[in-house]
């Protein structure tokens, strides 16, 4: 059989979703952002909510996420995405509003905004990328950096006596009555990708049903910041991040 007999329209089993743009992503090879963007785009496409979805990008590596998904976007100041999304949600209750934030953005400078938006039960979803480091600014210590983990501002490893324990903000968020769905996922294996996609689909569904805030943490890698190869990063994440940040649902109402 010739290759031309195989590559035919009727044999198509998978294609790039139309919600993803053709822009070349600026993310480092091996970075988790690209996978999460793709899943997000697929879910928006499958739920047919492209015209109703408004995303809010953070400050951090995902600041340019608006280049990659064909939806309307607002780029927020560092940590303020939940406040920006609150107003969009209140003024357009029929839209699907989500924030996409990293650990420095959400768990450090924007801790107040995320806690209060979740406590008010804003009808939106939050994608929280936790790779334990400030990627864009060059690998500084984040609130979620593990104990002993070296970064450019903790070159001898995070000293928890000086800076406190890594912040499990998702556990805090799960305590808030405004949240309806709080889960911690990953995207390092095909099985994990399928689970994450299910979680994001459920979160958008909750938003459509006005159930409350849905919050999805994605334990992620930053191979550039961690100074490991993409494969080694995944192994390091499984070995070190997962024990401290265990995967699974914390709340599903």
């Amino acid at each position: 059989m010739d290759i031309k007999d195989i590559i035919k329209e009727e044999n198509l089993v998978y294609s790039k979703t139309k919600v993803l743009t053709d822009n070349v992503m600026h993310y480092c090879p091996g970075c988790t952002h690209g996978v999460v963007h793709k899943i997000l785009a697929e879910v928006i496409d499958e739920l047919n909510i492209q015209e109703k979805t408004i995303g809010v990008t953070p400050v951090g590596c995902a600041v340019l996420a608006y280049n990659y998904l064909h939806i309307d976007w607002q780029e927020a100041a560092h940590g303020r995405a939940p406040a920006v999304a609150t107003a969009i949600n209140r003024l357009y209750p029929e839209k699907y509003v989500f924030t996409y934030q990293g650990d420095g953005d959400l768990a450090s400078i924007g801790a107040a905004e995320i806690i209060h938006a979740c406590n008010r039960g804003e009808k939106m979803l939050v994608i929280f990328i936790n790779n334990g480091i400030y990627g864009m600014t060059g690998g500084q210590m984040a609130p979620t950096t593990l104990e002993g983990m070296p970064t450019s501002t903790s070159p001898y490893g995070r000293d928890v006596k000086m800076t406190g324990q890594p912040l499990k903000i998702t556990e805090l968020i799960a305590q808030l009555p405004g949240t309806c769905y709080v889960t911690r996922q990953a995207a390092h294996t095909p099985a994990a990708v399928r689970k994450l996609k299910k979680a994001i689909t459920k979160a958008f569904d909750n938003t459509g049903k006005k159930k409350g805030t849905s919050f999805i943490e994605v334990v992620s890698t930053c191979n550039s910041g961690w100074k490991l190869s993409p494969v080694k990063s995944n192994e390091w994440m499984v070995e070190h991040m997962f024990p401290y940040y265990p995967l699974g649902d914390m709340k599903d109402e």
Binding site: A83, L91, E113
Partner: protein, 361 residues
Amino acid sequence: MAELKLMKGNEAIAEAAIRCGCDGYFGYPITPQSEVMETLMARKPWEETGMVVLQAESEVAAINMVYGGAGCGKKVMTSSSSPGVSLKQEGITYIAGAELPCLVVNVVRGGPGLGTIQPAQSDYFQATKGGGHGDYRLIVLAPASVQEMYDFVDLGFELAFKYRNPVQIQSDGVIGQMMEKVTVGEFKPRLTDEEVVKRYGSWATTGKTANRDRNIITSLDLDAYRQEQFNLKLQRKYKEIEEKEVRFEKIACEDADYLLVAYGSSSRICQKAIEIAREKGIKVGLLRPITLFPYPTKAIQAMLGQVKGILAVEMSAGQMVEDVRLAVEGKVKVQHYGRMGGVIPTPNEIVKALEEQIING
């Protein structure tokens, strides 16, 4: 139908917001402006017009809610007083950088720091020279009466959308707290979502439809050349605002030998000072800037052939006086008189300062 009402300056802001078709107010309590949100919460405009009113967790959150609402093409506002407006500076520069229309009200109190809850005008630099980072300007309106507090809400939104630029009402604790009669206008309906799409769909995040590319609200451009081009575009906009939107009032200037320049509550006190001075035979007039940016530079310059000296009166250590001096370019004597920390000058003090610093100085 137009009605006459007795109300506080802060209440006038709230009433005007409801009546001019404002879509959302986001605020945080601070003296001496808390009546703005209190009035809105008591009025429940969400039942009347559908207007959203939300008490935010902080000033920072409130101004970022304004960013989000403005980015959707909605008519949104916040209000605060000096320490709170300092917190809002981050959001204001992002709003200016993303070219979003919105209204910010500052009912100024004495500083620096926590300062006092009494009135002051010591945030002039912050409002007119850019309190946040970067080369940006706000359109700054300075009401001198409760009526103007009311009128400038609608005017502020009109200018904000005309230029896609944040507008600030620069009031103070006197104007915010005092009661005067106000003619309130008729209700203007809020725009429907369809009208918002029609008017602002070219830039606002109203949802990406098949007939247009995605809209992105951002102040970020990492390409230095493009960022410079964007800055030049902003500067052209500010120039146009300076050419078209200067507002001021002249009182008793026809025969004036001397000129007082004052805005807001100081201009009200100056009106009494003019009466006292004229009884003493001193011919003095008042030029009241209504827009602090754009500043009425040409109006001051037009007085230079006529007046022998100018006294700028403000409740500050001397901030607006710098713009008077820039306009005058050393051609006549310019002095500043002011009180600080929440102390309000008396008309007699102003006349004495005019005599000592300008006439005999």
